[in-house]
């Protein structure tokens, strides 16, 4: 029994499970991080810098992914690159990140709804993102066969779709904006054909 409890208490801070004290700690940590990273410019355009953890979600399992795979460090002042995620409700989350961070890790570290079922190994399509600006899309190194093969299976594929795990931030991509496709969809007629 004591091992069970230890196992749980070790895990909970990492995962932020329901309503336990450690989960609150993690939320605050993440929120501070968001604030910190957005702070330098937030005085100028405050509305742009949304916190990434709407309270309604903050006590839930959804942030379990935050530290599961999404391991990113806060950028040093002056070295920030910015990426904006637009969720399926249209809410925008502008995040300061480091050169080299990939979009899956960033999204998970900020509790955005991106699954990454294969752990970022380009073996599923659950971290599908849509680059909103063709110009930015063209600046990202071209997808390889493996990524394209997975994109072929993605729901709502567009001409500017990418897998988040394969897009790494660079100074050229500073200001990148990506949309998160809906995670769930209504089943279509074709789903019922074998």
């Amino acid at each position: 029994m004591s091992t069970t409890f230890r196992a749980l208490t070790q895990r909970i801070p990492r995962l932020g499970f329901t309503l336990r004290q450690p989960s609150v700690a993690i939320v605050q940590q993440a929120r501070c991080y968001s604030k910190l990273s957005a702070a330098p410019r937030s005085s100028r355009r405050p509305t742009q810098y949304l916190l990434c953890l709407p309270l309604a979600q903050s006590r839930t399992l959804s942030q379990s992914s935050a530290v599961g795979h999404g391991h990113v460090d806060p950028p040093k002042p002056g070295k920030e690159l910015y990426v904006t995620f637009i969720d399926k409700e249209g809410a925008e989350y502008k995040i300061a990140v480091n050169n080299g961070d990939n979009l899956l890790d960033i999204a998970q570290a900020h509790d955005l709804e991106m699954e990454g079922a294969c752990g970022g190994s380009c073996a599923c399509s659950t971290c599908h993102v849509i680059v909103t600006d063709q110009e930015y899309y063209d600046r990202i190194p071209e997808p390889g066969d493996d990524e394209n093969d997975m994109l072929d299976l993605a729901f709502g594929l567009t001409e500017t779709s990418r897998l988040g795990c394969q897009v790494h931030m660079t100074p050229e991509l500073d200001g990148l904006r990506v949309k998160l496709p809906s995670m769930t969809r209504n089943l279509q007629e074709s789903d019922f054909k074998s």
């Binding site: 069970t4 329901t18 839930t60 992914s65 699954e115 073996a123 066969d145 072929d152 789903d191 019922f192």
Partner: protein, 531 residues
Amino acid sequence: MVSLTRARPRTCANWQRTLNASLSAFVSRGIASSSSPASLPPSHNERPCRIAVIGSGPAGFYTAYRAMTKIRGAKVDMYESLPVPFGLVRFGVAPDHPEVKNCQDKFEEVAASPDFTFVGNVSVGSPSDHPDGGAVSLASILRHYNAVVFAYGASMDRTLGVPGEAALKGVYSAREFVGWYNGLPEYANLAPDLTQGEEAVIIGQGNVALDVARMLLEDVDVLRKSDIAAHALGALSKSKVKRVHIVGRRGPMQAAFTIKEIRELIKLSAVAFHPIDTALIPSDPKQLPRAPRRLMDILLKGSPTTPSPSSNTTKSWSLDFCLTPKQFLPRPSSPSHLGFTEFERTSLSPNPFDPHAYALGTGAAVQIPSPLAFRSIGYKSAPLHEFADIGIPFDAARGVISNDGSGRVQHEERTRGAAMALASFPGLYCAGWVKRGPTGVIASTMQDAFATADAIAQDWAKKDVPFLNEQGDGAAAGWEGVQLETGVDRANVVSWEDWRKIDGAERRRGRPIGKEREKFTTTSEMLAVIR
């Protein structure tokens, strides 16, 4: 009278009057005498939502995960008939696809929640298929939860129904072959004989068929470090198979395989791909939509290794299109063994390039000699034994539980005007292959499971949607209640802690031989670890 039928107001206005007597007989114990919306608790949210998930594969885990995320205070108990979790992630995903199994990390996180309980080695609604497994009735589950999610997948096989299929040695189902190489206890003793000749026929062109082909063709040394079952490694290293025919009724434009799996086969080192019949590919593939265009490109390009004319040295495979199986024929020298598979050639109507074209027999027979044939035409879900008694409808033709597309279990019922309308059972949901049929990758199952969990969350948030067992004096008792009622032998139950011990033991077994794990392939070995 008790109303246990939840109808959407727009489909059935008089739902308070409706009665599903068979379901009520099973679950009436916890339900008060009226279930009109006015008498429901002011909010479902005031008590924890107790959810039973039947099945511990990706559909079950992703539903649990999403429901625990979306419903505050949700408590999930997950029932699994085997002592080990993860369903087809453990027993279906090919051993050389370890990255696909990374989703288990997420499942581990879910299972670590204090709101999650794993009830392993306990079968629901039918007797356990192994002697040391426990079983509880579905009726008992329905009495102790607010919501029940059927996520038990597809335990059966579609069959061809052609002569020789069941009788001849050498005809296997892909399902049993996949289970065998992945260490599924049910098929641990399959012992397929791969030494009778060089040719093998796989009937079906889905990704499971390509998995089977890859296991037969791949250099066995590549598999040594995987978590493939030891017995399979032994048999595959003695295999004589060199030439694999992957046969389908239709053409490349209609095939079910996906490009990743084709690319893997094409890239196998020292394995040749026989060029495909280009008449079945549109003359200008560039006009096609992205996914079929890329697939046609790779099929036309072929493999770096070319088939050798003598076929003695190189392993090779082909996609044999437009052939429909007619019968399995015995070997003249040994009438109990497969010798040939006979097909009828088909033509595609209205044309070979229409993705929805169907295959019409032409009358021309084609025989492929081989001592081995694998039927890989799809899995099939089966209803739980108690469904008929309780009145839960199962769509036998499609092999799914009847549902509204979002996972709410539905049945037809007569409305006041004697017209038939679809109505939902309170608290019953389904997810995964038993909801939408046995197709799709883990990502599609995830989406589908999320849709089901969202439906539960939406219903739970509404005051007037009835769930199971809400009128009692306290919260539904969940697994504790089921245990008390059924008296299931606790010694037979595998907890998550127990699974972690089994997991640890498998990893330790694998270490000396450089494998991630050496799976136990019998339930008694698994249970011996924790006893």
